[in-house]
């Protein structure tokens, strides 16, 4: 028998049209909470987000909704609103990303929820939060990664060297919204820990400012970081004959390993390179030599030799390499999940509570697959 998961017994109702809110629900769901998506008639717009799998399901929605349950309800209709309220009465936490201006009309404003459901943790997840002069601002992934500060700082390293005149660059996928989801889930669970109902106001921008704290600290030290100047003095993205590796030496012994790796006896004998400050000053020269040297070598050979010498180096894995990686396979982080058009691999959470990864075993539900929960919102027997 599978051991109960950490959040077994917790019921969450999720109203999500954004990746951030759905990610908060996903995290809680995979940790064992019963997460019920309350979707509008026709389903959440996230169901349509590309890329679409061969059978037509959204890969993004599949990732976000695996294991969740679904009811559909139109909160403009009194009967649906009443059923939704009954469902909320049985829940511990409500995740909602309805735009502020639309909340009162849907009965989802802070005042009504706290009055009608005083026991519940009401977790609001909005691009710029629910409080402050920009609480009604619209946000999409691209604009949010720039509102949080990291967008301005990318790319750095090799890409910045190659394209110094191009505009800043986003991080792949839904990075900013994912941060918002993790931070929101953390805040929501912290409120559950505190006990009693309360309103929690999470903001995707706040989460991204938080993970970008380094730039704020450096500003306090008197320097504004910029993508063209914040590169590591040497190392970083290095091109090989068949791909790219990342190289970063922070500790003295790692530098010594790098000297051995390149068979750079002249560096070992050079007094100017005896400490990190001297090496930083001659970073361009060091990096030119590393890049020239690596260009004629294969990624696998380089990484094996580097790790042997204690030099931190990693292959830039493409998606297929991640899916079939030896470490990922040994840790069992990808699970087969049924989707339209065939089975797909969905990653478990990046943390675990015992030696095995948390299971990911249920497909994303069809809209309204659990509609009976609106009529009889009894809790699931076990999570």
């Amino acid at each position: 028998m599978t051991a109960p998961k950490p959040l077994a017994g917790i019921r969450v109702v999720e109203r999500a049209t954004s990746v951030a809110a759905a990610q908060a629900g996903r995290l809680m769901c995979l940790m064992g909470a019963e997460v019920i998506m309350a979707e509008p008639p026709g389903g959440s717009p996230l169901r349509q987000e590309p890329p679409l799998l061969p059978g037509g399901d959204s890969a993004l929605f599949t990732f976000l909704a695996t294991g969740k349950r679904s009811v559909t309800c139109d909160l403009d209709q009194p009967d649906d609103r009443a059923a939704f309220d009954t469902l909320l009465a049985s829940a511990d936490l409500l995740i909602d990303d309805t735009a502020l201006a639309d909340r009162a009309g849907a009965g989802l404003d802070q005042a009504r929820i706290s009055q009608t459901h005083p026991h519940i943790v009401h977790l609001s997840v909005l691009p710029f939060g629910a409080y402050g002069p920009k609480a009604d601002w619209l946000g999409e992934e691209l604009t949010l990664v720039h509102a949080g500060g990291e967008g301005f700082l990318l790319p750095n390293g090799l890409s910045a060297d190659l394209f110094p005149d191009r505009p800043p660059l986003k991080i792949a996928g839904h990075f900013a919204q994912m941060q918002g989801g993790v931070a929101a889930a953390f805040a929501g669970l912290s409120a559950l820990w505190a006990g009693g109902g309360q309103y929690v106001d999470a903001s995707v921008q706040d989460a991204n400012v938080a993970v970008g704290a380094f730039a704020i600290q450096r500003f306090g030290d008197g320097s504004v970081e910029h993508r063209l100047t914040r590169s590591f003095r040497f190392g970083g993205v290095i091109e090989c004959s068949d791909g790219y590796v990342e190289l970063l030496t922070l500790e003295e012994r790692q530098w010594q390993g790098l000297v051995k790796l390149l068979e750079a006896d002249d560096w070992a004998a050079d007094p100017e390179l005896a400490d990190a400050v001297g090496r930083s000053a001659r970073g361009d020269e060091i990096n030119r030599r590393i890049r020239d040297w690596a260009l004629h070598r294969k990624v696998a050979d380089l990484v094996a030799a580097a790790q042997e010498l204690g030099v931190p180096m990693a292959r830039y894995n493409d998606a297929a390499q991640v899916l079939s990686g030896a470490q990922e396979t040994a840790r069992g982080i990808f699970r087969d999940v049924a989707a339209s058009g065939g089975t797909v691999k969905v990653q478990s959470l990046p943390f675990r509570f015992d030696p095995d990864a948390l299971p990911v075993d249920c497909p994303a539900p069809a809209p309204g697959a659990d509609q009976s929960l609106l009529e009889e919102p009894q809790r699931r027997a076990s999570a």
Binding site: F63, Y131, A210, L248, V346
Partner: protein, 397 residues
Amino acid sequence: MTPLAGLRVADFTVHAAGPFCTHMLSQLGAEVIKVETALRPDIFRKSHAVYGRKGPATFDQVSSNKLSVRLNLKHPEGVALAKRLVAVSDVAAESFRAGVMERLGLSYDDLRAARPDIVMVSVSSSGQTGPESHFAGYAPLFGAWGGLGHLSGHADGPPVEMRHVMDHSVGMNAALATMAALLQRRRTGRGCHVDVAAREVASSLVGDALVAASAGITVERMGNGDLRRAPHGLYPTRDPDRWLAIAVANDAQWCALAKLMEQADLASDPRYATETARHANSATLDPLIANWSRQSTGEQLVASLQSAGIPAHLSWAASDIVSDPHLRARGAILDVTETGGATRAAVGRVARFSGDDTPGITRGTPTLGGAEAYVYGELLGLSDADISALVADRAIY
């Protein structure tokens, strides 16, 4: 009362990811006791010459609020004291390479012997198990291993290395997992060992792309592009290096943008009238937007775009963030006063709570060993003579 009031964390973490986890917990009210040693100070308390500077790097932000004690974990009495600290803590967090805590005599089993329901949180590059669990790693390597780095970048360029946001993402995930483990402990009475793998955090951030790839769909770098939205990109403004991000998510927003540009006919132009058409013709559409955007200041553009219901934001540097009235009103940015009286801007809580509006940071950077009288004296009940003897013996060092 702060949400996490009453929780105590014995914090053995170093570098960036682990300390950010306990920093998140401390911002919500947990008492975090940072275990350090003068033998080998946290690399981020030391100078960080790889950035071409001699001062410390992120240490001030993530060590704010924390209480510092010196403890030499290579001394048997130091290890014994560490266990006593764990015995009065709810959480023990560490971020050494897998296997180090065990070698120190502080494995999960060792800590559980000191406190049966302890929640131990281990943050590492590749996890506690598996053939590569011993690999050394930093943020850019996590991004490289996990696929996030490969998928980020221009379509015609190389991968992009992830920096501190990657470390801090790992820390945020670890803080979340810690809360789940504590809720489980409250329900069952059992502690557990939480194993956070940084490279798995990186791959989870592109989890949807990995789902697609597993179904045979090609996923590659696409710069600032989006699979559906157009126009979608960074556009110049009147000021140099002041970039405007616009992400039009539907036809209504597109019509509003065309009107704002005073080129309403673009909305009905068959090349741009539908999302599919705009996406296919973005090579001709983007210059039209750029020609318009470079006539005005970024601030004017964002105000008018948001008023018209179009998602837009300037690409903000730290200087913009620290002075933003919105972020300050929310407490997401606040000022911290250090012991010496200097004030600096810092990052506050990631969310607001109706039950508690305490600022996320109420104390600055701790001095090394600054809380020993409280921790060793009050919490652990050591006499002054005991503490002096341990200091003389370099167990407290």
